[in-house]
């Protein structure tokens, strides 16, 4: 069974087609780069997978289930924005995740937070945007999920932290799980990608094994992307 299956998916806002007849599937155990320019439809697709938008047409299946309670149990989602209640402390958020997600590993979260020099007693309202993003990443990667969906995980962090984040992603998901990473910073993640999906103007224009694509085009994914999306 496919882990994620997207069938004939369309999303229309104000008569504008944001996603047009999207079809693809993702197996277990892969790291997939969802790549495209700004406004290509990457975040819309990710939001649809996470029930944050309602599809105009089509369906999304996770392990054969339609989006709902069962799929949310196995998807760990990192949005591009800060979604935590700022009145909470870091330890409160850990308790919150432990309450709602059976697959959340609180000890692992505490260890990762310690590695990042983040104090679990600290109030979220006193943290910088970068610190909050790290807390969210730790929370998301501390779940033993089947599918991790990371929307711009490297967006607001410095290059040194990017390496740590990539390392955290790589070393914190089990081999049967898959990861979808949406980002503009292709060169930073290219080395970890198994597959790439190029999306442009609401359509998937390419889905390929990363190594095969590199060999075929004799250039890096970053270079292929720049060529394909040259303004």
């Amino acid at each position: 069974m496919k882990l994620l299956e997207v069938k004939n998916l369309c999303k229309i806002f104000d008569d504008k087609e944001i996603l047009i007849d999207i079809n693809f599937s993702i197996p277990n155990g892969k790291i997939i780069g969802l790549l495209g320019k700004n406004g290509a439809g990457k975040s819309t697709l990710i939001k649809l997978i996470n029930d944050l938008l309602t599809p105009t047409k089509g369906e999304i299946l996770i392990n054969g289930n339609k989006i709902g309670v069962e799929t949310k149990k196995v998807i760990s989602y990192l949005p591009e924005r800060t979604y935590l209640n700022k009145q909470m402390r870091v330890k409160d958020v850990i308790n919150y995740f432990e309450d709602f997600y059976d697959n959340f590993d609180a000890d692992k979260a505490k260890k990762l937070l310690k590695d990042l020099d983040l104090n679990i007693e600290q109030k979220l309202s006193k943290m910088s945007k970068g610190m909050l993003e790290k807390v969210q990443l730790v929370l998301v990667m501390s779940r033993n999920a089947d599918l991790y969906v990371l929307d711009e995980p490297l967006g607001g962090v410095d290059p040194a932290t990017r390496d740590y984040i990539l390392d955290t992603i790589l070393s914190n998901f089990n081999e049967n799980a898959s990861v979808i990473i949406s980002t503009h910073l292709i060169s930073d993640i290219e080395k970890i990608l198994d597959e790439v999906i190029f999306i442009d103007k609401g359509k998937i224009i390419l889905q390929s094994d990363a190594d095969k694509l590199r060999n075929k085009e004799k250039s890096s994914i970053d270079e292929i992307f720049r060529r394909m999306f040259k303004c």
Partner: protein, 263 residues
């Protein structure tokens, strides 16, 4: 999962409302102490300030309970926090029910705090007797049981305000289905929902009036209702508001279950 959602919704409200509860009770106590002292100009001025603050806090509790219920509803379902709310493994019904129960609990708690504050500020044996006599005068004329009258009166006010809160929820749900001016549409739909619900109350009472001439007098003349009509009106109002709250809740959930479109 409803209990877990409710736990965090209640925590949020306790954090934000407890300061008003404490301040209302504090000014209730200070007012009582200040007015029990020998009255000098300064004590009297302080007493007046204290009673003003007490009333400000009482009004604050009422308005804050309503406003914070709406703000909490919007923030956790349609703003940044919604990215977490909608990715939790819970049903949309549980999300709505949690907000509904949280509002209900804090409305009751707020009401009890207001009563307690007023009791602390003004209670004396004489005033209590005066109040009893006043209620008894009203109820004797209407041939009603005093306790039942007070309970019914409070119940109607409670249901009326709770209906208004839920109209706000429906307004927020419908307003956020629009792609632009979501806040303006939320307010507009909320007001429309409220007027519609009030119109339904009136319409249903009017329909009952078609079969009961005493109730019809409410619409056709300025004469006071007779005792039996007044009793019937109280019962009707409670039943109708109760039904409207249930229907509004079903409508809210139906619209909410159709899904969200977050920015």
């Amino acid at each position: 999962m409803l209990n877990k959602l409710l736990k965090y919704d209640l925590k949020y409200m306790i954090k934000n409302m407890s300061v008003f509860y404490i301040l209302a009770l504090f000014f209730g106590i200070t007012t009582r102490i200040l007015f029990s002292l020998e009255q000098t100009i300064i004590i009297n001025i302080l007493g007046q300030i204290s009673v003003g603050c007490m009333f400000a806090m009482v009004v604050n509790i009422l308005i804050n309970t309503i406003m914070r219920s709406w703000v909490r509803f919007r923030d956790s379902i349609y703003k940044d926090e919604a990215y977490l709310t909608h990715t939790l493994p819970v049903t949309k019904n549980d999300i709505y029910n949690s907000k509904f129960i949280q509002t209900l609990i804090f409305f009751v708690v707020g009401f009890l705090i207001i009563l307690l504050t007023i009791f602390i500020t003004y209670y004396t044996k004489d005033r209590w007797l005066q109040l009893k006599v006043l209620i008894s005068t009203i109820t004797t004329g209407l041939e009603l049981n005093s306790t039942l009258f007070v309970i019914s009166f409070i119940a109607i006010i409670f249901l009326e305000i709770f209906n208004a809160i839920q109209c706000g929820f429906l307004g927020i749900i419908l307003g956020h289905k629009k792609n632009n001016n979501k806040v303006a549409f939320s307010v507009l739909f909320g007001i429309v929902a409220y007027f519609l619900s009030q119109s339904i109350v009136l319409l249903l009472i009017f329909i009952v009036g078609l079969f009961n001439s005493s109730i019809m007098d409410l619409f056709t003349s300025n004469i006071l209702l007779d005792t039996s009509a007044f009793k019937l009106l109280i019962i009707l109002a409670i039943i109708i508001y109760f039904l409207i709250i249930i229907l509004m809740s079903i409508l809210c959930k139906k619209e909410f279950n159709k899904g969200v479109n977050l920015e």
